[in-house]
Symmetry: C2
Subunit: 273 residues, 2 copies
Amino acid sequence: VEPTTVLVDGVPAATVSVLDRGLAFGDGVFRTFAVRAGRPLNWQWHLRRLAADCALLRLEAPGEAVVREDLARVATGDATVKIIVTRGVATRGYAMVPARPTRITVAFPPVVHPPEAARDGVRVRRCALVLSEQPRLAGAKTLNRLENVLARSEWHEPEIAEGLLGDARGHVIEGISCNLFVVRDGTAATPRLDRCGVVGAQRERVREALAAQGTAVVERDIPWLELEAADEVFLTNSLIGAWPVRALGGRAWAVGPVTRRVQALIAESDARA
Amino acid sequence: VEPTTVLVDGVPAATVSVLDRGLAFGDGVFRTFAVRAGRPLNWQWHLRRLAADCALLRLEAPGEAVVREDLARVATGDATVKIIVTRGVATRGYAMVPARPTRITVAFPPVVHPPEAARDGVRVRRCALVLSEQPRLAGAKTLNRLENVLARSEWHEPEIAEGLLGDARGHVIEGISCNLFVVRDGTAATPRLDRCGVVGAQRERVREALAAQGTAVVERDIPWLELEAADEVFLTNSLIGAWPVRALGGRAWAVGPVTRRVQALIAESDARA
């Protein structure tokens, strides 16, 4: 396993208690983001999403000052950082007994993607696994991620960069590790995520940046057939930025102008951060 | 947090790596069972269910000899033991990269329930949370247990012993920490668990023991209305044995003969173990 720098509750440590509820029940949330020259990218959206997800689980979110202090210690240069907040160490049983949350900050080496992915687009597949619907958890990046694990195990071909996930109603929802946008006749849409799926910080920034330019992104149900009919499809997350989708099965796409604009908006926003 | 004895991969340790996939994704399974005078109760069913759940996640299940060796070291007397098997330590990303599973064995003090629960029955409530349906994970006791955590947070009244969970189709499925049986006109049934729910080892033993006596337990969809109309309702898990349900909202039940027979069968089986 690659080298990392880890803080647990601000203290250098590589381990957590076996009684941590993050392990016992996946009772916690996480965020993954890029740090460039010591600056966390898209930081405001990551903070907001962390706070929202903690609130959903009735977890006390760590304050910004505390998190920034952790970051300054683990990631002074370029890095991929993952922050995990769990309900902390507790005895057996599902009840939310009072426990001090555990805050884990892990710095991995920066992720370097082949430049072709952003430039020419990626090939994706439609996963056989169908996302379950749980409105009480939808949108949150919780530690309950077995659906993602099972979906990612469906293929091994390295030429397939990502798997797309849908719900049982015939809608596309997201990628295993990213969100998805479709563009048709200049109008952008992204799946609603109130029954399943994860609201990514990059997704939210892209929606905000496009809206600021007068391009509202509609959040709604998107049937698979509509995906096939789209002029452009692109994927977003905090490590890839925005990747055009160039192929799904037999359907091929050229990289479109909205996708290029989104890539530019992300780059500008990251440069300003 | 109460005192415990812990082995991680057979070595005394109180912690696991922050990079363990059990923490990162809930990528693992667990069993909880009673040990009496050093003997794990209902052991064969726990082993079978552990193997089945590991297979579902394509995890290598620990061999019986290894697990028994752990048990002999952590629980020589009476204890509640929890065994967790995770996909082990790995770098970031959902892909099932080759990793050595992590085996965690934790001995807690034995659970002592008030004798009235088994004797007179317990009051339960119907949870507002509705279980999501994921056939790919249904039945398995995975570390993705946030639905249980949220459901258990719905009430604080100590006189309510358990919450019942249903699916979106109007069926009762299970208790938060137990399985459920209904009896009507001498015929027993328990919810099918192929879309959601956890197959408990005690549930399987009860079905087997009743079948051996000529009382087949039908596994099927059970609407909430049918639960209300039942002559007897009882709950099973490896720590409570079988508890009669004496009240759900305004509906009250007397403890019935099948419930008493199940309690006797469990006691006999535990004594033989």
